[in-house]
Amino acid sequence: MIPGLRRFFRIPDARSDLDAEIAFHVEEHARDLIRRGMDPDAAMRSARAAFGDRDRYTAETLIIDREHEREARMTEWLDSLRTDVRYAVRGLRRAPAFTATAAVTLALGIGATVAVFGAVSGAILRPLPFVNADRIVHVGERQVKEPGMGGTTSSENAYDWQRMNRSFAALGLFSTFSMSLTGLQDPQRVEVANVTPGIFDVFHVTPALGRRILASDTVQGAPDVALVSWDFFQAKFGGDPAMVGRTVQMNFRPIQIIGVLPQGFRGPRLLDRPMWLNFTYDSSDGRGGRSKDVYALLKPGVTATQAQRDMDAISRELAARYPRYNKDATAQVDRLADVVYGDVRRPLLLLLGASALVLMIACANISNLLVVRGIGRSREIAVRAALGAGRARIARQMFVEAALLAAIGCGAGLALAVAALRLITALGPTVFALRPPVVDTRVLLFSVGAAAGCALIFGLAPAMRGAAVDLFGTLRSGGRGLAGSSHRGRSALALAQLALALVLVTSSALVLKSFARVLAVDPGVATENRLYADIWLPRARYDSGRSTTFYAQLEQRLKAAPGVQDVAFTSQVPLSDYLDQISISEFGGRAPLSGGDMPTGDRYIVTPSWFKAMHVTLVRGRVLEPTDNVNAPPVAVVDERFARAAFGDANPIGQTMRIPGRSDQATIVGVVKHVKTYGLDAESPGQIYIANAQYPWRWLAVVVHTQGDAAHFGATLARAVRDLDPDQPISNVSTMQHALDEHLRSRRFALTLLGAFAVVALVLAAVGLYGVIAYGVTQRRQELGVRAALGASSRAIAGMVLREGMTIVTIGALVGLVVSLATGRVLAALLFQVSPSDASVLLPAAATLALIALVACAIPARRAMRVNPVEVLRGD
């Protein structure tokens, strides 16, 4: 061992000790022999011989000594550690305000980061649960001039893609709808998908039981077969393998169950579709009906960009070959993850950034707190050093205290993270339910490391400095010796905290204003006290005449029920994720339009009471009437937006257009206000309303306007339907208010989280500022006392303290505003009709920060006012 270190640790030199001991032994032996008359030389030789191999025994003994030393040191170390921990506990308990603030700061920083990161990485950063998930893409059609993700396509196009592409190892069609399952228990609406064999290859699905769908199942006229999901198989069939091969009644037709999907497997978009049916090719489908999602597996080595080029070429060829439907259309290749997560990803990444800011503020705060406390203790440290505590010893005591604090803070932080994760999953977008959060060990280590690292570094710093400091100087000056040097550093930390906090405050204020703007949007329909439910009548039992009768009878029954104001039927319900748009090609007196030139609208097939039941406002003309029946000329009502798109400034009333699926022209009889079909903050092209009496439809939803809370009406509705047809299921029973809430869910979630972060950041920054100012006042007590003695008014003294604080606040706020303006653009995903540089948001946010900071400074300023000059000048 290096001699210097040995001296430092005061380890006795075992080697020289042993040498002396052995030398004594041999000499003593020789002395005995001489006493008995031996010649001294011979005696020495004889004694050496009797001792044996001296080197060997020395070596053996030294090994034992070294082990002994090591054990002794360990025991001593453990003993002093125990003392240090006791000392640290006492120290922390003596300063409960500091301990609580520091622990809460750590807990908030760690809790926020770990929770948000856990949720986000669990939901959207983890690979999707498919083999080769990174090679799976969605191929969808979109208009060339409308950038965005690809949508659905026609089966004819999809089959052409399958034949023509050179990029995909497999390609499959997937289209979703729902069917009535009867004959088991209560009639039930089941979400099903039509799939082609390619889907099994794309998603690498091997049925747990039975067989997959084969090419022979997809030819025109092939019998219906189905695979059921594992969960459905357990719930409905009790997991009985004998069910495979049996038939069930779906839409009153027999469908054979041929297999069971593997346990835990979820469909392409992670939504469990209980049944997969064979897609059967229908030559009459044509290219106009775009209802198929296409999923494909990239060949190994082929990138999504290469596949996109391939599909671009194919799209051009198809557009040239089938201009009527494919003109201006292109096939877009999107990664599956982008399709599944879609628009939830950006807000979540933003929240991630916000949580990182909270962690940074927490780290700055904990550093500040510990530095302030450390400097405040310089006297204590000096006293301990004077009493003989070694430098290393003091440093270790500080270290143990900081480590204990970090452990408490981290423990609380993790507990907070677990609680926050539960809340996030409950409040957050639905993706969290599908992809439960995981606590990422890297994130855990990082945030705990960052926060605990700050605690340790800044907990240790005063000890390091304290050890180097001039002992007598510190003692003489009463522990006030260290004020100036690091004060600027701490002010900078407080300033950074304030700036970061302001960024969070402005962000959440912008998001809050956006939320208010969204809420202020008129959906175009009334949402209070409206219940809706799908009542889709199967073709096998209801031809168009019977379905009209059924709906009419149901309307009568419901209207007679107590508390019902209005009843209407509609083919789609606003805000409820229906998607039924039509594009109009032929207008009376105009050449047919094609491709992107055709105006598009949401198709609402409704009963006349719809407009009154949903409070859809008439602008001009008239709404649909009961007299618009099968014997009357076909009519339509459109909204203002569609009217403008189709007719410009011309009066739409009296114009005619051909509704797809019909051969005759419908006359437009009225214009109503626009309805936000896809949510308050989403665009909708406009609406086209036609009468169910003239366009018989078997897939209608009932809407009931009730006097009180609509949610209670579900049971009455179910009874009314059962009375009319016991085999008829109803599904998607919900209220309009709930549908609206679901649409606001993501925004509300982002706002809640951001708001919470902003509050936390504000509090932490205020605490940080308070720490700096309060400490400054303590350090300058003597100076303040002298000033007071020399006649400075207490106002002047308070003003001095406030000025120092407000300088930090002003600079911090300015920096924060600049950063907010610079980073505002990344907020775009969360903003709605609010500019990121909206002064009416930024300035009040800065003012709020300043106000809170003022309070944080006022407390120490008041203390400064009360400094008693006599007491101070007399000494401590």
């Binding site: 000790d17 001991e21 004594f24 032994h25 003593e28 032996h29 020395t58 034992i64 000594d65 002994h68």
Partner: protein, 109 residues
Amino acid sequence: MPSSLDLLKGTLDLLVLRTLRNGPCHGYTIARLIKERSGNDFLVEEGALYPALHRLEKKGWVESEWGISDNNRKAKYYQLTPLGRAALKIQIAEWERYTRAVAGVLQTA
């Protein structure tokens, strides 16, 4: 010394402890006493004593201290600790059981 006995493993520790029972002594004295009391019958180099002593010290059975010898020289003295005293008692009992057992077998054979 063909007539000398090899020392059984662990026996040296026992002899050292027993020697120290009468009071503290330094290494040479221990070696001398063992030699005398055994009638010079053990084939053991004196140097072997030191690993044994230091091992006992590590176990906490003996403790050492530098002192002044009869002839006024610095010498390291060893003495039994209470723990060592207890250990010695157990070891003696075990040794006696062991020799009785061996003797019993040898006599009946």
